[in-house]
Symmetry: C2
Subunit: 360 residues, 2 copies
């Protein structure tokens, strides 16, 4: 068995290389339509190639290896396409949330707002930035399809995998809608926030990529469904743990590793499970402070620290940590099942610890 | 040969029925995720089922019949999926343009803005409307894929058609970006506006759906490419004529048939070919009036009539009419080629006149 971190690094390098080739072909295609599209190609390439943990391609590839399948360049390309889907989700998400930064750089709508200003274009710079972000997100979604479809997969594997791929994307969009709807409700709820975390993030980041990998690998329906169900036993709790870790990092994370300003989730008033648990536990004095600071656009370090203190003092932070621990153990139990080929164990172990580790 | 209008009505009815079935299945799927998604399913179903000319499915089906293929329920379902792609384009387009209405009803972002107000939700109603429109557009795009993939096509036909389907969508997004970029430029250009019309509308509405239909029908590459090239000879000029007609209707159209308020394109300051031609021809007095009224958010009937008069007086309107006529004749010439099976002639003739007719 190869060393876990080396297995991971190898897949990441291959994913990076496939994305580079695909984006360079698409840059050429856009260039043939018009030179006005150069900033689009450039922004998208930088967005995809400069960073990213590649979690979804990695889980999908692990899902493929776990089915006992052998390494395959076409499969790498197919799973790499999930990064383009994720780019769509992030670009649209940042626009909807009004987030200024992503991975330490300006969010896509801000990038095009800046281009508008620098080039002295006419009309509203922020409207131009918003429109560009909508279209670049759409383009990323279409490109992800194109990269998947043109990966060079065997015809059977391609057709078989379209279904889970489509379902995953419907669930993602449904989860995103639940999220913006939740933000507009007057009350918070742990149960509702958990469901959003499951659809918007857990299923889409872990369970569904594993299913996608299994469907790329296994022709026989019964065998495929058996593995798929074990992947759910592993992926659903781990996906929830992953989202809960994200909640904690959104409040307590170090900006230099999260790539987001400190307390960003608090400023945005994000209805996370962590916050729902805090509000459930808060006394009336604490609730008043939450009402004052949570979601305040001009939230400064004083407000951030006050909220952080309440999240800790109510015990919500510890409760979420305990829950992450418990969910992770449940997930790890499923990993030991015989149906998962041993060649995937190193990768899945390493990915588990990345998904729930204490820094971004 | 059956009567053209009956052929058209038959395909429209089948498309409507397939969309109804698909949307009802998806409504159920969303309902299983959460009751909060009921407004999403409802808004999308009304958007898709209440109206729409079904131009893209019709051209695609004509493209399929023109290849000499026989009627097929799976193909109807596959081409009907193009209506969902179009829904994505329209929902996002209206949001980017800040249009209030679509087909005589509130645009999608306005519908969800209204839901926010009626239900007394928290936060900004317009931000909620914008986020919902982004996500419903994304969902429509994913649903269009899902409907196409699950149409029950023969595996070969499905896999073969993915390529042109993906290219069509990349071109659409590229054309949309060219359009928003054009709006932000200080100068107008007939050449640039023609290119936008070609990518954003012409190729996507007519040429590419025809190609899609041909690829669903023809296995042999050489035969397919021969027909594809004739479809381009027909579809590209007709697509341009279609967009030019849209330009004219956007300025002179009757609101009761266009489903948009009078002079909407003028109020939005839309950089159409018609406007570029007007500005090329305008004298300095006319240009001053254009500068005063074109794109003015509070544009009233006085301003609309002043602009309409200039568009007519400069000869731009007549020039565009002549161009539509010329492009239509070029397209019709290609229709007589032997390679197009006669079973498609009635449908293609009827679609040609719909695409360029003088009312919406």
């Amino acid at each position: 068995m190869i060393e876990p971190q080396r297995a991971l690094a190898q897949v990441r390098t291959s994913v990076q290389s496939e994305l580079t080739v695909f984006l360079s072909m698409q840059t050429q295609f856009l260039g043939e339509i018009g030179s006005e599209l150069a900033p689009v190609a450039q922004a998208m390439s930088a967005y995809l190639l400069d960073s990213g943990k590649r979690l979804r391609p990695l889980f999908a590839y692990a899902g493929y290896l776990g089915a006992g399948a052998t390494e395959d360049k076409a499969v790498i390309k197919a799973v790499a396409s999930l990064e383009l889907l994720q780019a769509c989700a992030l670009i649209h998400d940042d626009l909807m949330d009004g987030s200024d930064t992503r991975r330490g750089k300006p969010a896509m709508h801000r990038q095009f707002e800046n281009i508008h200003k620098e080039e002295g274009l006419s009309g509203s710079a922020s409207a131009y930035g918003a429109s560009a972000a909508i279209l670049l997100g759409d383009l990323a979604l279409v490109w992800s399809d194109q990269m998947f479809h043109s990966a060079g997969l065997k015809q059977d594997a391609l057709v078989r995998s379209l279904k889970v791929h489509d379902e995953m994307r419907v669930e993602l969009m449904a989860g995103q809608f639940l999220d913006i709807h939740e933000q507009a409700l007057a009350t918070s709820s742990v149960a509702r926030s958990l469901k959003i975390a499951r659809y918007k993030s857990g299923k889409y980041t872990i369970e569904r990529p594993l299913h996608f990998g299994a469907s790329l690998a296994i022709e026989d329906r019964i065998t495929r469904e058996a593995l798929t169900s074990i992947y759910s036993e592993f992926g659903l709790p781990l996906g929830e743990a992953f989202q809960l870790r994200d909640d904690v990092l959104g409040v307590f994370g170090d900006p230099s590793t999260t790539g987001k300003p400190a307390g960003d989730d608090l400023r945005e008033g994000k209805r996370t499970v962590l916050m729902a648990m805090t509000r459930e536990r808060a006394n009336s004095t604490q609730e008043k402070i939450i009402a004052q600071y949570f979601g305040a656009q001009n939230l400064d370090s004083v407000g951030i620290e006050a909220l952080q203190a309440i999240i800790t003092e109510t015990g919500a932070r510890q409760h979420v940590e305990d829950l992450i621990e418990k969910l992770t153990l449940t997930a790890q139990d499923a990993l030991n099942r015989d149906e998962i080929d041993s060649s995937a164990h190193a990768l899945l172990d390493e990915l588990t610890s990345i998904a729930v580790r204490r820094s971004a």
